[in-house]
Each structure stands twice: as structure tokens, then as C-alpha cells.
Symmetry: C2
């Protein structure tokens, strides 16, 4: 028995990371719902972010998100349906359909950034700014690779 009952069992660390993530995302969406964006799901903000100001194609979006072009296309469909994205034909290439953030989408994106900033300030108020900085630095050290993969539902489930 190498380590019988460690004082800090390893399994709590992932749970705390998940709980921290979830707390931030839940707080964000509670606030977004209050500000007129109740349809925005956790995934959607990341997708909007990945589309970016310049727009993309479904295929490229899939590559950015680490998912298939088909999955990206379906997600775009849903965001188009709720008015956050739009598709326009690319005049220079009839195969491509540009995906662009609508004004409403841009509004949601801007508010998301603001709320995230405010939430981080709240963490800094409670924990101390240095602790939050250290937390980010440490996570950056340990999680270098998986920096932007958003296939969470399929990954976790599977």
C-alpha cells in the first residue's frame, strides 16, 4: 500500500476544476439571461467566439473547435435559428457559405466578455488578485495542450 488515504486525495482536484468552470459559466448565463439573452447556451458563447468578427465557414469552424464539419454545421444551424449567426454566400466561391455573427450575436459576445471580466474581479476580490493570477498561471502550465477544444458534450459523454 503505497499511499493509504492521502490527505489530499487526487480525485477532488478535477471535481473542483469542473465545479469552478461550472460556477463561472452558470453565473455568466444567469446574468446573460437577465440582460436579454436567455437562449444562449454554454456552448454557444464559445462557438460565437470561434466564429469571430471576420466570419468563417462551417468547415473551418469545425477545425477551430476540434469537431467535424458536420457537427459544426449543425451547431451553426441552431445558432442561426435563434438569431446569433447568419449564413451568406461567398461571392468568390460558390461552394462556401460564410458564417457571420449577427448584431444580436455580437451583443451577446460583448456582454459575455464584460460579465466574465466582472466575474474574474469577483474572484480577485474574494481570493486576492495574486491568487487568481497564480491560479491561471498554474493551469496554463499544466494544461498547455488542451487549450481550445470545445467538443465537451461528446468528449465527456461519448
Amino acid at each position: 500500500m503505497a499511499t493509504p488515504e492521502p490527505a489530499r486525495p487526487g480525485f477532488v482536484l478535477p471535481l473542483l476544476l469542473l465545479a469552478g468552470f461550472r460556477t463561472l459559466i452558470d453565473d455568466l448565463h444567469a446574468e446573460l439571461a437577465r440582460q436579454g439573452h436567455p437562449e444562449l447556451r454554454p456552448l454557444h458563447g464559445f462557438v460565437l467566439q470561434a466564429v469571430g468578427a471576420d466570419g468563417t465557414t462551417a468547415t473551418e469552424l469545425g477545425q477551430r473547435l476540434g469537431i467535424s464539419k458536420q457537427a459544426a454545421g449543425k451547431t451553426v444551424d441552431r445558432l442561426v435559428a435563434v438569431g446569433y449567426l447568419e449564413r451568406v454566400d461567398d461571392p468568390s466561391d460558390a461552394r462556401r457559405r460564410l458564417v457571420r455573427v449577427t448584431p444580436r450575436g455580437a451583443d451577446g459576445l460583448r456582454r459575455s466578455a464584460e460579465v466574465f471580466d466582472r466575474l474574474r474581479e469577483r474572484w480577485a476580490d474574494t481570493l486576492g488578485a495574486d491568487r487568481v493570477d497564480a491560479l491561471e498561471d498554474d493551469l496554463r502550465t499544466m494544461a498547455a495542450a488542451n487549450w481550445f477544444r470545445l467538443d465537451v458534450p461528446g468528449w465527456f459523454g461519448g
Copy 2:
């Protein structure tokens, strides 16, 4: 313009928390696959943990996991199919079907705990034990509430 371009934008914090979580879970399952448990999905470990040594019912499992009894039942079905859980009739109540961890499930659970401990040690080696302790403490402070809700796919997607 209250905060134009903050030095530490708020939106990276959740991404880092997610990336940290994901790194740990991916490392865990890579190791579990090596140790003879390739079928175990990220969700499954948490479900096994929630079933516990004494067993439960699907309804109670749903409550523990924060999902419906139907969803819990389906997940149990899948874990039964891969041999990690079993259902037995409750002799004292013909409505209930006890869900129990099989020996194979217990093996997976034991190995998971070991791997998580080892991964935490790796973090402590890289960051310093005090930093990891502080990270956990800080997260416990900020994420007190959502301590154990595992409806991740549905929550994140939705």
C-alpha cells in the same frame, strides 16, 4: 469604457479551468485504457463513484447526480452492458432494483483513485505542493455550491 482591454481578460479563467479538468480526465483515461479499462468513459467513473460500495437504486442515483431517474437508468443500462454495474432485485421491496458495482467496476474505481492521486502528485511536483493545495482551497471557496452535479453533457450542450 470602463475596462478597455484588461490585462487579464476574464474569459480565459473558465477556459483554463476546463482545460485543467480535461487534461486530468484525459490523462486518467489514457492510463486506465492501458490498465485494461478502455471502455470506461469520463462520465462512467463519476457514476461508479456515485453508486458507491453499498449500491443504490436508479432513482437515488439520479438524485445524487442531479439528473432524472430515467437518465440515470439509461446510464446504468450502458454500464451494465460493459460489465461495470449489475442490477439485482431487492428482496425487501419488489419495486426496487438495486444497482451494484461489479468486481470489474470496483477494479476500475480503485485504479482511478490511484491514477488521480498520481496525477495530483505530478501537479505538485511541477507547481509545488503548496500551490496545488492553494488551488484546491481557492476553488473550494469559489465553487462551494456546484460540488457534485454530473449532468455535464446536457448542461453544457442543452
